[in-house]
C-alpha cells in the first residue's frame, strides 16, 4: 500500500480515567448529564475510546479527508 493511501494501522485502546472523563464532561457543559446520568457519560467515553482504537490510521500524510473541499456556488 505504500505510495498509495498507506496501510491502515490500529491504535491500542486506552480507557480514560473516570476522573478525567468527569472533568472533560464538565468542561463541555455536561454537568446536568453528569449529575443525573453519570453511568451514561462514562459509557459514552468508553465507547469513544473503542471507536478510536478501531479506526484505521492512514500512513500517507497526503491522504485528504473525504469529501474534499469543493468550492463553487451552493445553488
Amino acid at each position: 500500500m505504500a505510495g498509495t493511501m498507506g496501510a491502515p494501522t490500529l491504535h491500542k485502546a486506552n480507557r480514560m480515567e473516570v476522573s478525567l472523563t468527569e472533568a472533560l464532561a464538565r468542561s463541555l457543559g455536561l454537568e446536568k448529564a453528569l449529575a443525573a446520568h453519570r453511568d451514561d457519560v462514562v459509557a459514552a467515553s468508553n465507547r469513544a475510546e473503542t471507536i478510536r482504537a478501531n479506526l484505521p490510521q492512514l500512513r500517507d500524510p497526503a491522504a485528504e479527508p473525504f469529501p474534499p473541499m469543493c468550492p463553487g456556488p451552493r445553488r
Partner: protein
C-alpha cells in the same frame, strides 16, 4: 382479487383505471386495518386520517376525470417521523420535540404530493433515528409483524413493520448506518439506500450530515422503484444533492450479471448466525443457477467500516444534539442519551482520520466494482432478537454489514432471502456503483421471482 392491503402499486393503479377500486375505498380499508392491527405493531406515531381522506377523494376525482398523474396517484405512503409533513408534528419519536409542528413539507414529501400520493401518517422510529427499541419514550417502539415478541429492525422501524403488516403499500425511511435496510431485513421487505445525494434530505431531521440518506421501502422491488422515481432528483436546497439522471428499471434478469460475493464480512470479520450464512449461500447458488457469474471479492474489514461510520456518525450527531444534551439530558431515552454523548469524547483527530479513511474505503469499493456489476453481502448477521431482551438487542444490533455503503455513499438494497427456523426473515444485501439503483432494483425484482419468498402471516389476516 387479492385483499386490498396486499396489492402492489401497479395492481392498485390498474384497479383505479379499470374503475374496480377508488382511492377512498382503499384508504378506508387501510384505516380500518390500522385501527385493528396497529395496537399490535405500533407502526404509527400519528395517523392523519382526515387529511388523507381529503387527498384520496381529490385523487379519485382526478383519476375519474382521466387526469391520472402517474403510478403513485392515489397511493397511500407512510412517512418516518423525522421527515417533515406540513401541519403534522415531527417528533423524531422523542420527548425533546413533542409539539414540533412542521411548517412546510420536506422536499421528498412535496414530491410525493406532486405525484398524487396520499400521506397517511407519521411512522415510528428509534429516537432521532439512533440506537434501538426503547421503552422510556413518549411512544411505544414498533414491533415485528412476523412475531410481535421481536423487534422489527430500525431505525425506520414503523416503516418496516407497517409494510409487512399491510398497513400501507409504500413508506419512506432514512439510513445513516443502515436504518432503511435493517427493518427491510428484519421485516422481510425491500429497502433501498440510494446513492448519497440522489434523494433530497431537506426537511429531514439530520442524524449525521455526510452519512444521511432518504430511501424507499416497499413489499416488493417494483414498488420501491416507483417510489424512488417519485422522490429522486436534484434539490438546490440540499447542499449534498447531486444532479444525476436516475436510470429507469429495465426489467433485466440475472443471467450474465457479475456478482462479487463479500464473504469475509460474515465469515471472518463478524461471523454470522449459521442460518444467515446458509441463506447467503443459497442466494449465491440461486444467482449462479440463474446464470450470474459469482466470485469472491475482498473489501476492507467490516470492523474498519464500522469504526469509520461510528466516528463520523457520533461526531456529527453530537454537533447537532450538544445543546439539548447540556440542557435536557433527561428528556432522551437512556439508550439514545448514552449513544449521543459518545461524540463529546471523540477528538477532531478522530473525525478527520475517519474522513481520511473514508476516501481510501471509497477507492477500495470502486476498485471492486471495476471487476463486478454488483456486490452480494450480508445485511443483518442475526435474525431479529426479542424486543424486550435488551442484552440480546444490544449484542445483535451492531452485527451488520450495512455501514460500508453509508461510508462510501454507494447504493445498497436489502431484501428477504428466506425464513429462519423460528419463522423470522433472513436477508441479503446487494450494492452497486454510484447511481446504479436501477441495476439493484432489477436484480431484486428478478431475485423475488426465483426465490419464492413467503409473505408475513399478519399480511394474510383480514
Amino acid at each position: 382479487m387479492k385483499p386490498l392491503h396486499s396489492l402492489g402499486v401497479t395492481e392498485i393503479g390498474a384497479a383505479y383505471r379499470e374503475g374496480t377500486l377508488t382511492p377512498p375505498r382503499l384508504l378506508r380499508h387501510l384505516l380500518d386495518r390500522i385501527e385493528r392491527l396497529d395496537q399490535r405493531v405500533h407502526a404509527f406515531i400519528q395517523v392523519d386520517a382526515e387529511a388523507a381522506m381529503l387527498a384520496a377523494e381529490a385523487a379519485g376525482a382526478e383519476i375519474a376525470r382521466g387526469r391520472a398523474r402517474g403510478p403513485l396517484h392515489g397511493i397511500p405512503v407512510g412517512i418516518k417521523d423525522i421527515i417533515d409533513v406540513a401541519g403534522l408534528p415531527t417528533t423524531c419519536h422523542s420527548r425533546i420535540l413533542l409539539g414540533n409542528v412542521a411548517a412546510t413539507d420536506a422536499t421528498v414529501v412535496a414530491r410525493l404530493r406532486a405525484a398524487g400520493a396520499i400521506i397517511i401518517g407519521k411512522l415510528s422510529t428509534h429516537e432521532f433515528a439512533l440506537g434501538g427499541p426503547a421503552f422510556d419514550l413518549p411512544f411505544p417502539p414498533a414491533r415485528n409483524p412476523w412475531n410481535t415478541d421481536h423487534h422489527p429492525g430500525g431505525s425506520s422501524s414503523g416503516s418496516g413493520a407497517g409494510l409487512a403488516a399491510g398497513l400501507f403499500p409504500l413508506a419512506l425511511g432514512t439510513d445513516t448506518g443502515g436504518s432503511v435496510r435493517n427493518p427491510a431485513s428484519q421485516c422481510g421487505i425491500v429497502g433501498l439506500k440510494p446513492t448519497y445525494g440522489l434523494v433530497s434530505r431537506r426537511g429531514v431531521f439530520p442524524l449525521a450530515f455526510t452519512l444521511d440518506h432518504v430511501g424507499p421501502m416497499a413489499r416488493r422491488a417494483e414498488d420501491a422503484a416507483l417510489l424512488l422515481q417519485a422522490i429522486a432528483g436534484h434539490d438546490a436546497l440540499d447542499p449534498g444533492s447531486v444532479p444525476a439522471p436516475l436510470l429507469r428499471a429495465t426489467g433485466a434478469g440475472i443471467a450474465g450479471l457479475r456478482v462479487g460475493f463479500v464473504r469475509h464480512f460474515h465469515e471472518t470479520d463478524m461471523p454470522a448466525d449459521p442460518e444467515v450464512a446458509a441463506a447467503l449461500e443459497r442466494a449465491a447458488a440461486l444467482l449462479s443457477a440463474e446464470g450470474a457469474i459469482v466470485r469472491d471479492v475482498t473489501l476492507p474489514s467490516l470492523n474498519d467500516f464500522a469504526a469509520v461510520n461510528r466516528a463520523i456518525l457520533h461526531a456529527e450527531a453530537y454537533a447537532i444534539h450538544a445543546p439539548w444534551l447540556r440542557d435536557r439530558p433527561g428528556d432522551y431515552a437512556q439508550l439514545t442519551r448514552s449513544s449521543l454523548l459518545t461524540g463529546a469524547f471523540l477528538t477532531a483527530d478522530d473525525y478527520i482520520q475517519a474522513q481520511r479513511a473514508r476516501g481510501w474505503m471509497i477507492e477500495r469499493v470502486e476498485q471492486a466494482l471495476d471487476e463486478v456489476d454488483v456486490l452480494l453481502t450480508a445485511s443483518s448477521m442475526d435474525p431479529p432478537a426479542r424486543i424486550e431482551d435488551a442484552a440480546e438487542v444490544a449484542r445483535t444490533y451492531p452485527r451488520q454489514a450495512r455501514t460500508p455503503f453509508n461510508v462510501t455513499g454507494h447504493p445498497a438494497l436489502a431484501m428477504m432471502a428466506g425464513l429462519s427456523s423460528g419463522g423470522l426473515p433472513l436477508s441479503v444485501q446487494f450494492a452497486a456503483g454510484y447511481f446504479q439503483e436501477a441495476r439493484l432494483l432489477d436484480l431484486a425484482a428478478a431475485f423475488e421471482r426465483v426465490a419464492a419468498l413467503p409473505s408475513c402471516g399478519m399480511l394474510e389476516e383480514e
